[in-house]
């Protein structure tokens, strides 16, 4: 049986990749994908820990996360779409109206 630490390490690596992607990539769509990656890293950790302690709670929460992620994707993509229509760009550096 695969030790729990492997799952946790993979989850951590995936999460770190996601964080890095959100912070460094300028394309909003890629940032969005990176957020999905972070969510799924958390999902992996939840499932693995749930199995380890013999509880169904982990899997239940994962389903909730997936549902929310789906809704988030729908809303997020809609926002990105209307942003592109208005500004002709999906570059995060150019989307900085919220400043002084």
């Amino acid at each position: 049986m695969t030790p729990i630490s492997y799952y946790m390490a993979l989850s951590a690596i995936l999460f770190a990749i996601g964080v890095t992607g959100v912070l460094v990539r300028r394309n909003v769509i890629v940032m969005f994908l990176s957020i999905e990656l972070m969510l799924n890293a958390v999902n992996l950790a939840l499932v693995a820990l749930g199995r380890r302690i013999g509880s169904m709670d982990g899997q239940v929460i994962v389903f909730f996360v997936m549902t929310v992620a789906a809704a988030e994707a729908a809303v997020g993509l809609a926002i990105i779409l209307s942003m592109f229509r208005n500004r002709d760009t999906v570059n995060a550096d150019e989307l900085n109206l919220l400043h002084w």
């Binding site: 964080v19 109206l97 002084w100």
Partner: protein
């Protein structure tokens, strides 16, 4: 012994009704109604006072009528119960305030006949009468202070009655501010007394209770007495705070008669007579009172010699006469001071009303250099004013003779020979300047302006009647205080005796050197000297202003410096201006306004704004608008919080 007498409340109620009526309905009700209600309420108050007085006379000596009103301040063990008390002393004052007050109110109806602001005028005048009655009827010190402030306010309102003249408004403010200076002393005096009594658990300001606990006041008696006297110098126009009174003469003349001669300015004398138990505990304070009084009497009288404004002469004369009263109460002759207060109210009220009648007849002319030969044109005014002048000059049997004599006798009897001498000399000066006024106004050649000369007319009956009544009082008013060996004797002193006893010991504690003034020959001798001084004054005035009218100018020319000094009123106004007003203005402008207000306070407020703005200027750079920067900061936060928990777990 104190008898309950609820009707005393009516004495205050009626003037209060007058105030409210004139304030809210005076305009709508019209001149007739105001002229009826304004004086009417005071006459009713006088009638009530008279019934109270008669009731009081039927009671044994030393009795008082009491009317409890309500609890004003209840704070822990400190109670101030408002109440009215009519004893011998306040009865005299109340009779003067309502009696003379009613006559002057009546006279005002005629004097203000051409003024459109009659409703406002009678509102103020009724309010004054109300405040003054609160002052004299008060049975405790704090209530007296309410009246004390009230009359000050009314004085201000009435001096500046014709407020569209900036000079008049200025004079009103001057009177108010100078009075405030004195009032501060009065207030601190009250605090001193409260503190001294409270130390021993006596929480009261009631006069009777204070007198009962007088021994507790011994440690602060000197301080309190001097502070209260400082208040009195403001209200009663004594050195050093007399400067407002001559300038107060810009108010309507009946106001000068009522407030600035007959009643309000004597409040200080009344206060000292009322608190005689306190002053007797502090002989040095009494010395101060007597000396200030005598010096003021002399000082003001000399200024009056050269003034040419008829009302100003009377104003300085008032200051001088109040000086006499202060001399009286200062040497412990409280009854004599109060007696002079009463007779002075009669004859000085009369003199002011007469001067008002002259001014009214001449359409506002107040300069005596532009009068003369009015005797035949204003016969009633002339006759009554002559009576008033004889009274103030202390010619027997006019009222001033008896009261002034009692004061001088009191000063002499207690060994104040110098003060007595000052008083005698002042008596001579008094009759000189008063007869100078009479001669310049009514005798000699006419110096009237051509266009005014043929409009001169005697005053209407509504003004003449108060003159005649007051003239009668000026003659017979003094007969209640005859020398003790004559007819009913000194009834006035006997009436007041239970309240104002003679001092038990002299100044600075040593036993008093009582000269036997009760002896007929001593009494007559003293009286004769004062009378001689007065007659010499009259004779000199007659010499200079009737026989040799060219002499005064020649003397003034010869004694240029002295004349200038008197004409400029010893440069006291200029002195105060340079020593007090200007430094204050300078300090207010440069230190307080420029320094503290503009630099410190504005600096603080502006600085707060500038700090916020500046720090915003710096910190707003953080807000880049770039979502990844926010995400990075967020990450740092998350790592920090997570790290903290990891630290807690691993520790």
């Amino acid at each position: 012994m104190t008898q309950n007498f609820p009707a005393l409340g009516l004495i205050l109620l009626f003037p209060a009704i007058g105030v409210l009526f004139n304030l809210f309905y005076g305009r709508r009700a019209g001149r007739e109604a105001v002229n009826f209600v304004g004086p009417g309420v005071i006459f009713v108050a006088f009638a009530v006072t008279l019934t109270g007085f008669i009731t009081l006379l039927r009671l044994p000596p030393g009795a008082a009528l009491q009317c409890d009103l309500w609890s004003w301040i209840v704070a822990g063990s400190f109670h101030v119960e408002l109440g009215l008390r009519l004893d011998a002393l306040s009865a005299v004052m109340t009779l003067v305030v309502t009696g003379v007050g009613a006559l002057i109110h009546l006279y005002s109806a005629g004097y203000m006949a051409d003024d459109d602001d009659y409703a406002r005028y009678f509102t103020y005048l009724n309010l004054f009468a109300l405040s003054m009655l609160v002052l004299v009827l008060a049975d405790n010190l704090l209530q007296m202070f309410i009246g004390w402030e009230g009359v000050g306010l009314c004085s201000y309102l009435l001096i500046a009655f014709w407020y569209d003249n900036p000079q008049y408004a200025y004079n009103g403010r001057k009177a108010f501010i100078v009075n405030r200076v004195g009032d501060l002393g009065f207030l601190i005096g009250i605090f001193t007394i409260v503190a001294a009594l409270a130390q021993h658990g006596v929480w009261t300001l009631n006069f009777a209770a204070m007198q009962h606990h007088a021994a507790l006041l011994q440690p602060v008696a000197l301080t309190a007495a001097l502070l209260l006297f400082f208040g009195a110098t403001g209200k009663s126009a004594q050195i050093p705070l007399y400067v407002w009174l001559p300038d107060a003469m810009v108010g309507p003349t009946p106001v000068s008669a009522l407030i600035h001669a007959a009643t309000m300015v004597t409040a200080g004398v009344y206060m000292i007579a009322r608190l005689n138990f306190l002053y007797l505990l502090a002989p040095p304070a009494m010395e101060v009172v007597a000396t200030v009084g005598a010096v003021t009497a002399f000082f003001a009288a000399t200024i009056a010699i050269v003034q040419s404004d008829i009302k100003r002469v009377l104003a300085y004369s008032t200051i001088s006469q109040i000086g006499y009263m202060m001399l009286g109460v200062g040497v412990g002759a409280f009854a004599a001071g109060t007696f002079h207060l009463m007779t002075h109210a009669f004859f000085k009220g009369l003199l002011f009303l007469c001067s008002g009648s002259v001014i009214h007849a001449l359409h506002g002319e107040q300069d005596m250099n532009k009068m003369g030969a009015l005797r035949s044109k204003l016969p009633i005014t002339y006759a009554t004013m002559l009576i008033g002048t004889l009274a103030i000059s202390a010619v027997p049997p006019f009222s001033g003779y008896f009261s002034k004599d009692l004061i001088l006798e009191g000063a002499f009897a207690t060994g104040h020979v110098w003060l007595w001498l000052t008083g005698v000399v002042t008596a001579g000066i008094t009759s000189f300047y008063m007869f100078r006024l009479i001669f310049m106004t009514f005798h000699g050649p006419s110096r009237l302006d051509r266009d005014k000369a043929h409009h001169v007319h005697e005053s209407p009956p509504v003004m003449a009647i108060p003159l005649i009544v007051l003239a009668a009082l000026s003659i017979i008013g003094g007969w209640v205080g005859l020398p003790h060996w004559l007819l009913w004797g000194d009834a006035f002193k006997r009436f007041l005796a239970p309240i104002v006893a003679r001092p038990p010991h002299g100044p600075f504690g040593e036993p008093i050197v009582m000269l036997d003034v009760e002896r007929f020959s001593t009494s007559m001798g003293l009286s004769g000297i004062a009378l001689a001084a007065g007659l010499i004054g009259i004779f000199l005035a007659w010499m200079l202003y009737i026989q040799r009218p060219e002499l005064p100018d020649r003397i003034a020319e010869r004694l240029r410096g002295v004349w200038e000094l008197l004409w400029r009123k010893y440069y006291i106004d200029e002195l105060y201006d340079h020593l007090i007003s200007r430094p204050l203005f300078w300090a207010s402008t440069n230190l307080l306004n420029q320094g503290i207000d503009h630099n410190v306070i504005d600096g603080f407020v502006d600085g707060t704004g500038a700090t916020v703005e500046g720090s915003g200027e710096v910190t707003r750079k953080i807000e880049t608008g770039n979502v990844q920067h926010y995400a990075f900061v967020y990450l740092i936060g998350v790592v920090a919080v997570a790290g903290y928990y990891v630290y807690l777990v691993l520790r």
